[in-house]
């Protein structure tokens, strides 16, 4: 289907880069959950562009309007819909992409899938712009989770192959100077999730988190705990020993990333998402004119992020919050 996620809450992210608005509809949110708009705005601001030399100079206010599901700042049990108007769109910047798909983008696959009816302007529904309503949904979930003692924190741990913060920044600026871009890795840690959250097989926490995190544009890999590094360890070096601490079972290490058999151990949930370098670059690239089916050179103009990773950090938090809250609701059902 595409843009719908969740088992206990069901959210659909809608909108295109240049449609009247982007937004999100969430069915299944319990009634009585307060939404602090100031804090939500502050969370959205972390994703917004135009904040520094490291990001695009476009400015989007990202002011969400809640059309339904909220009464006096509290969820009322009915489906919640929030929209963000698209105001600062310079659609002419993207018109070139209509016939000449940008390498690394969904332009070509959207054309194959939807044909001439596709909305190509600015990447349409595939635009990074759609992470704004995802952050609205995630921001609401983060506030609910916080009241249940769950915290979600992400950060960039690698950019352009660098892991030191200054080196990361330098890598971005160097790529920008070259009309190029760099990728990176975001690590996310979720604390306070009680043991027993998640389900076996296809609804494990890993499956649920991966299923939403791969929905963030540019993510090409997701790993939990030691992840790919675990494949190089021996069992004796990877297994986390159990111990008792304060009357509770804990693991002495957390190489499993807080998840065994898809279910939380009670230790922090840890995962990393790999972001490819932003495909929109000023450097000339080889493409094809889909009208004539002949080769065509392409240089992507417009204001683009040389690296999406800094702005992606809150998006990863939002995605994790949604997945974890949805899994928590399943747990409540069993216990209820």
């Amino acid at each position: 289907m595409g843009s719908t996620y969740g088992e206990n809450i069901r959210l659909t992210v809608f909108g295109q880069s240049h449609s009247p608005a982007v937004g999100v509809t969430i069915d299944g949110l319990p009634a009585g959950e307060a939404v602090d708009m100031e804090r939500l705005r502050a969370f959205l601001a972390r994703r917004a562009p135009g904040q520094s030399a490291l990001t695009t100079s476009r400015r989007e206010p990202d002011e969400p309007e809640f059309l339904s599901g909220i009464k006096d700042g509290v969820t009322c049990g009915a489906p919640l819909t929030a929209v963000i108007r698209n105001t600062n769109a310079r659609s002419q910047d993207y018109e070139a992409a209509k016939d000449i798909p940008r390498p690394g983008h969904a332009d070509y696959t959207a054309w194959i899938k939807y044909g001439e009816a596709r909305d190509y302007a600015g990447g349409g529904h595939f635009s990074g712009r759609l992470t704004a309503p995802l952050c609205v949904a995630g921001g609401v979930c983060l506030q609910i989770l916080e009241r249940e003692g769950v915290a979600v924190r992400a950060r960039a741990v690698e950019i352009g192959g660098e892991t030191d913060e200054r080196a990361m920044e330098a890598a971005i600026l160097a790529a920008k100077a070259d009309g190029d871009s760099v990728g990176g890795v975001v690590e996310c840690v979720v604390t306070g999730v009680p043991a027993g959250v998640g389900d076996p097989m296809f609804d494990g926490l890993e499956n649920r988190i991966a299923a939403i995190v791969f929905g963030i544009p540019a993510v090409k890999g997701v790993e939990f705990g030691e992840g790919f590094a675990a494949a190089r360890l021996r069992g004796s070096g990877n297994n986390d020993a159990f111990a008792v601490e304060g009357g509770e079972v804990v693991t002495k290490t957390n190489r499993c990333g807080g998840i065994l058999g898809g279910i939380s151990t009670g230790m922090p949930i840890v995962f990393r998402a790999a972001f490819k370098p932003t495909p929109s670059i000023a450097k000339e690239q080889e493409s094809v004119d889909l009208g004539t089916m002949r080769p065509a050179a392409l240089s992507v103009r417009g204001r683009h992020d040389p690296c999406i990773v800094p702005r992606a950090v809150p998006v990863v938090e939002a995605a994790a919050a949604i997945a974890v809250y949805d899994a928590l609701l399943s747990r409540k059902k069993e216990r209820g």
Copy 2:
């Protein structure tokens, strides 16, 4: 929910390691699809244990019985259920695990989630045994896909940190000699998928494949195309240039793993899954007695694989086949 997967076909894998049977129920398979039982048996045999010194000496016949959904060797449109009886179970081998959870296993999380009612014998529903019915479902999908020109091939590309075949084998045998285990990486390539399969955001091919592959026990990471390595490339080095070949749009490289915006480009779909080392090892480990909440040493007895990766290869193919076939059915709906 847990053990249910799919949008257009919906399959539920059922059974525990020591229940009367394991099996799979699939709703939504089209009528008229032939199932070659000989080939299905040959496929299942690749997953079966007892084949060499590299795997456990347990022998399971893995002979599926089709209870419904098949008539004269052809799907009839009704839900398909196939079961494999559990015959070679030595439940006493696992009885020790009842109160002392094995590090790296789901024993502890299952206890927290299901309490005393859990089926602990042999890992219950979390056992690798459950990959047998997954392979039945995947084997059926593989045969259907083959008739549509789609082939799925996986192989171990890394074991115990080694990438050379002999070195991989040596790593397994060395671990076995030490009463230890090793992990590895399986790479899977799906060819013949036409461009345009997959959906945006949460139902992209990456999301769909990750959501099922993380359901294979021991998988801790999934990446597509260059995956985590892409995070270290620049956009100019990671973007795949478009070209025209034989009247069709192709990409000159395939660093995106055949997927852009969640949708197939028509190039091979390539992904890798990281398997942690088998947690069941003979070496003594630290655990906790859940009855007394006191430390307890544990040495996992029984016949276990020193490395699950060789047997996991067909399981990854099965999982990929199910995910790709399900996505293909969505495509047919749009085109119909």
Copy 3:
């Protein structure tokens, strides 16, 4: 979950009677389907209030704004969201209902379910106002279906126990004069559905249609073909004989309402929905003050329809169109 429907298209109806807007989000609509806004408006006008002495004098413009999923009047493959602003709300009319639930309404059950956080004004999410976005979704489906040769037509066949058109009208006016209300029965006929649409058991056409039609406020019964009258026939009098007509299999009668085993026969699909009398009446009724838990008399003020049936006719068409179109998409998937 509540306000989400569909297998192949998934729609969520959102909004409350007095929230900023009501609307609908639809994921899964194929790209390339034209939406004629003039015809959609005309369809919505059939549901709108204020049209005659038979309906409430409130006037709502019901002008939908499409926020996403449409480009140049054609679906683009991305989720479609349409909203209708709530402008003509006189919330003070309903304030009395806050503590004193209106008999026959969801006021009491909403209070029990959502507590103080519920949106009580005008019935909140349970208001008949929510049938407006349902009609937007249905109106889009009706236009698509029409291009596939499928037509959906409903009409009131009984009001206040009367089946003659003038008598129906008289019954409504008499009830209005008494500060009372009447119910009725809407019959819907869907023609042009090819044989073979629908699925066995729980996704038969009957199940699918009932599952959405019971979502229309005030519907308390749904029957297909002869329905409850069939229970009084003998098999020989109820079975529809098969015959060949123009090279096609037809049934000589259509007592089954065009559905056998949940699947369309190719004959018209016929169903009826029973609407209870509008619960909002001026006559004094017995209720309870939920604050004091003491008896309280209630006379519902405000402008209410003495009979909802005339305005419900297009809503039934909309619901039927959504259900039939969703089932048709399943059929395409099988055939693709």
Copy 4:
């Protein structure tokens, strides 16, 4: 999809009349729920044929085997699968139906939908035989519900147009003597459901119950409370007055069938299902030979029920139990 139902528990009914077995797979059942096999057998016996002159003389043992999900008589949290072997099949009785569809049956629509691959013997997946595994699932839910104080009781309230018990029996015997059949109405009452169960719009109790009850073969109408009769009442005569009784809000009457806005009021839930007369009758009927597309007379041989209603009573209870339990789980999630 077809044979899959449920939001919080997800069950798939599988099998054909003459496949090796029929059965049911249920994912999502909480762990720790005891299943009393003796009581389950007794419940299934109420549905079994061969009990009196009023039903077919075929005898099926209906002995369910639990393949998974149960340990020591208690659910263990893993998916539950139960199968009933098909033993007493006389497939030659039905061979005539291969080319000549029985009027009133799904033979023709199955042929259109699945083509030559369909399993025609005994009606295949459309057979009333499939209500046996539905009763296994419902029987398990009934036992869980009972522990929560919920009771489900159905009874035949009308057969062949008669409402007196002796007259009903006489109507069946008269139809049998004529080689004909009669239909009837089953009423079901669910007591003990607390107020607040059910969801708005498309997941109301009415929608959920109708969506499963229309999955019982031969059901052509479902109504709640006064149902179609409510359409003939005035609002003042149909609204249920609220009152306080023992500190709780009750309604003085229960014309709404215990449901307002899709949500339980706390009063008994009351619904009726209309069953058409069994289509399998000895009387000669007009059909078509699908091979030659020429008219063909048909007299259905074999041992058929002259009236399915008596055996359908526990099936309605089973369906209601599944729907109500599934809705109750949603309620727990909100409250958890």
